[in-house]
């Protein structure tokens, strides 16, 4: 009897809770409601927080300057723990809130799951940093960052054109979508432009502290350039272990290496001469970047990385598309989506992650890759 009673109570409580949360379909509002999704807890929290903060700065700037066409922006960010299932929950939470435009999600795998939902609901989506090709498979989704294959191809082209190296070793994370995505395209493109890959050594997320084996193989193969399509945490280990081995090739990385100079207890002199292809360098001297970096450091007490910059640009891209499309906040999300889709292919945006960014209907961005080299402990444009 006691059990039955407790169960009845549980059911009643749950029901009461659910009824309380009944959705209210909003056909319009007087502000633009932009939602964001990304990991702000768990292992990938660094990226989610950067996006959340970067976008917040852009939103504050726009609102202070009077909004978009005189309309203020409301911005809400939900956590997805870098998990596809949680990302869908976050998306549903934002839908209940009345989100009209989505700036997200931050990481690739959850982004694919959410993209399927936004497509079904016909909601405009702009991912600041979801770099997998599948993120923009549907016509309502667009990217701020390069796709992984583009980064791989651009790296191979850059190395070949500038004669940075001829015998190349690659160390990549085979358990990571970002890393293996870049590697596959890099390998294909390297073949096409006549670069020789003498060693391709993989590691996995479970085994990423000792890289001596991979480095020894690269050394034995006499590679003069080591390509690192990985994140900076592992790269710092590779650099210090290569130094111990007395192996000094050129190291070349992608945007994942951005942040390497900020790692604690890492001897920055080891990173001297490392080249990386990144759309954003925090110490660039142009006004827009200086303005963004100063505000970010003031407000959040740390130097922004590329993810924050992508999100910052993302908000301005949405603003440009809204202005071009003549979208007003009283429209429904799917009406907005149709107009925004068309406007995206017509706008050109100058941001801090690239100048003259344009979009194809496929959703991929066109912008020139920037290569930087680390000299005297700072990023220097090449």
């Amino acid at each position: 009897m006691k059990k039955i009673l407790s169960i009845v109570l549980t059911v009643a409580m749950t029901a009461a809770m659910l009824v309380g949360c009944g959705s209210t379909e909003q056909a319009g509002s007087d502000v633009f409601k932009i939602g964001g999704i990304g990991p702000i807890t768990g292992g990938a929290a660094v990226y989610g927080n950067a996006v959340k903060n970067g976008a917040q700065i852009a939103v504050d700037e726009i609102n202070e300057a009077g909004g978009i066409n005189g309309v203020q922006i409301e911005y809400q960010f939900e956590d997805d723990e870098h998990d596809a299932e949680k990302a869908v929950n976050a998306y549903n939470t934002l839908s209940d809130w009345g989100m009209q435009l989505l700036l997200g999600t931050v990481t690739s795998a959850p982004c694919v799951a959410v993209a399927e939902k936004t497509y079904a609901d016909s909601v405009y989506q702009l991912t600041p940093s979801g770099s997998s090709v599948d993120c923009v498979k549907n016509d309502n989704a667009f990217q701020v960052c390069f796709t992984d294959p583009n980064q791989g191809a651009a790296s191979a082209d850059y190395i070949a054109q500038n004669n940075v190296g001829s015998k190349i070793a690659v160390i990549y994370d085979s358990s990571d979508v970002y890393s293996s995505g870049i590697y596959e395209k890099f390998a294909a493109e390297a073949d096409a432009v006549g670069l020789e890959i003498v060693a391709a050594e993989a590691f996995t997320a479970d085994n990423k502290t000792d890289f001596t084996t991979q480095l020894t193989k690269a050394k034995q193969a006499e590679a003069d350039l080591v390509f690192l399509p990985i994140y900076y945490a592992e790269a710092t280990l590779i650099l210090s272990q290569a130094n111990t081995l007395g192996y000094a090739p050129t190291f070349f990385g992608c945007d994942g290496l951005d942040g390497i100079l900020a790692v604690e207890n890492f001897d920055v002199s080891l990173a001297e001469g490392v080249m990386l292809l990144t759309p954003f360098a925090a110490d660039a001297k142009d006004d827009a970047t200086v303005n963004f970096v100063t505000k970010y450091e003031e407000k959040f007490g740390e130097t922004p990385n590329q993810f924050a910059a992508d999100a910052y640009d993302g908000v301005y891209i949405i603003k440009a598309a809204i202005e071009k499309a003549g979208v007003t906040p009283d429209m429904s999300a799917s009406e907005m989506c149709d107009l925004m889709k068309k406007a995206m292919t017509e706008i050109t945006v100058d941001g801090i992650t690239g100048e003259g960014m344009t979009w194809e209907a496929t959703g991929e961005v066109n912008k020139g890759p920037k290569a930087v080299v680390i000299k005297n402990g700072v990023y220097t444009a090449m």
Binding site: K2, A84, Y91, T93, S180
Partner: protein, 356 residues
């Protein structure tokens, strides 16, 4: 009601809860009173309740601690998703295809259960827990290096990378190693989930009351005594383990067809998930099937209810989890609850009335 055995009554209540929950949700959904968040949570609730019930069979009925349950879910998820992807453009009815996918996922997971069970079930207690943990991780890692592609020549499999599949230009890569499977058809619905849950409950409850189930429980309670009366220990242990694995495989199929992307990360198929499911079982009560259902539902919904706390969400979730555990299982609180329970209060009142 009086003529019914206590057992039957208890079982009917369990089914009743599930059916009432289903009807309630359908009514709320039909009248538009269910927010998108809850609509999105309905299928995950089914997935995790099935996982909890199936693990309860291993932990509660068989009495062996398994820490690799998410591995079986992973097997079921990938098998079924691969099957659906291969037949996606065949024009097959999506419900028929999904049912075959679920059965296939369950079957392959059961096979994995047998293969793993044969060596593992020779161990006991902590040793068994550690070995299942290792097997769960092995499954996850094997899936992470698996590449499957298809072209006009048929299906190609590789354990190296996508390039070594040697696909013709018309081919497509379906399983892309760590990138997993993307574009799985969205076939999972709440109705199918609830039907699966009821089938799983039916299987487990009837298994417990069957000849084999009693044998399994006899092994749990006293292995030597069970052996002395001629129970084939290995056979019954393996049977329970395989049934448990197959149900986890079915849950995996439901999971895979609910999301457009499927990859084996430590978070969804690693030991983190195995332990999460163990938490559902322990909170609901080891061996208590109904408890597993309720605990899994509450703990699936809870993190979403706490979204208002933003950064402190997971911290508060953990605190609530500790509080729930204490409330449910601390001996002192159990004492207190039995002293001051509503049931006692009602029956005391009734007694008083009768005396008057």
């Amino acid at each position: 009601m009086k003529n019914m055995s206590k057992q039957l009554k208890s079982n009917l209540i369990t089914y009743g809860i599930v059916i009432v929950f289903y009807l309630l949700m359908m009514i709320l959904k039909g009248t538009g009173n269910l927010s998108s968040l809850y609509r999105g949570l309905l299928v995950p609730i089914c997935v995790y309740t099935i996982m909890a019930v199936s693990l309860n069979l291993t932990v509660g009925i068989l009495g062996e601690l398994s820490l690799g349950h998410a591995g079986f879910m992973c097997v079921g998820a990938f098998t079924s998703a691969l099957f659906s992807m291969l037949l996606r453009d065949s024009g097959m009815n999506s419900i028929v295809r999904f049912i075959i996918a679920i059965l296939l996922g369950a079957l392959v997971a059961a096979l994995a259960g047998v293969i793993i069970g044969i060596p593992v079930l020779r161990l006991k207690g902590d040793y068994l827990a550690i070995v299942t943990l290792a097997f769960g991780e092995i499954i996850k890692n094997v899936v992470n290096v698996l590449y499957v592609g298809r072209d006009s020549n048929g299906v190609h499999v590789s354990f190296k990378d996508a390039a070594s599949l040697n696909l013709l230009p018309d081919g497509e890569v379906i399983v892309k190693g760590p990138q997993g499977i993307t574009g799985t058809p969205n076939d999972s619905t709440f109705t199918i989930g609830i039907i699966m849950l009821i089938i799983v409950l039916f299987v487990v409850i009837n298994f417990v009351n069957s000849r084999s189930g009693r044998a399994v429980m006899a092994i749990r309670d006293n292995r030597i005594a069970a052996e002395s009366v001629g129970i084939n220990i290995s056979k019954f242990k393996l049977m329970a383990f395989a049934i448990s694995a197959s149900m986890a495989g079915a849950a995996g199929a439901l999971y895979a067809h609910n999301l457009a992307t499927l990859n084996a990360l430590p978070k969804n198929f690693g030991y983190n998930m195995s332990i999460m499911i163990l938490v559902y079982v322990v909170l609901g009560g080891i061996g208590n099937i109904r408890g597993s259902v309720i605990a899994a539902t509450i703990l699936t919904v809870l993190p979403e209810l706490l979204r208002g706390f933003s950064d402190y969400r997971m911290l508060i979730y953990s605190v609530v989890l500790i509080a729930l555990m204490l409330f449910n299982w601390s001996p002192k609180i159990l004492d207190f609850r039995s002293k001051y329970s509503v049931k006692n209060w009602i029956s005391k009142k009734r007694d008083n009335k009768e005396e008057v």
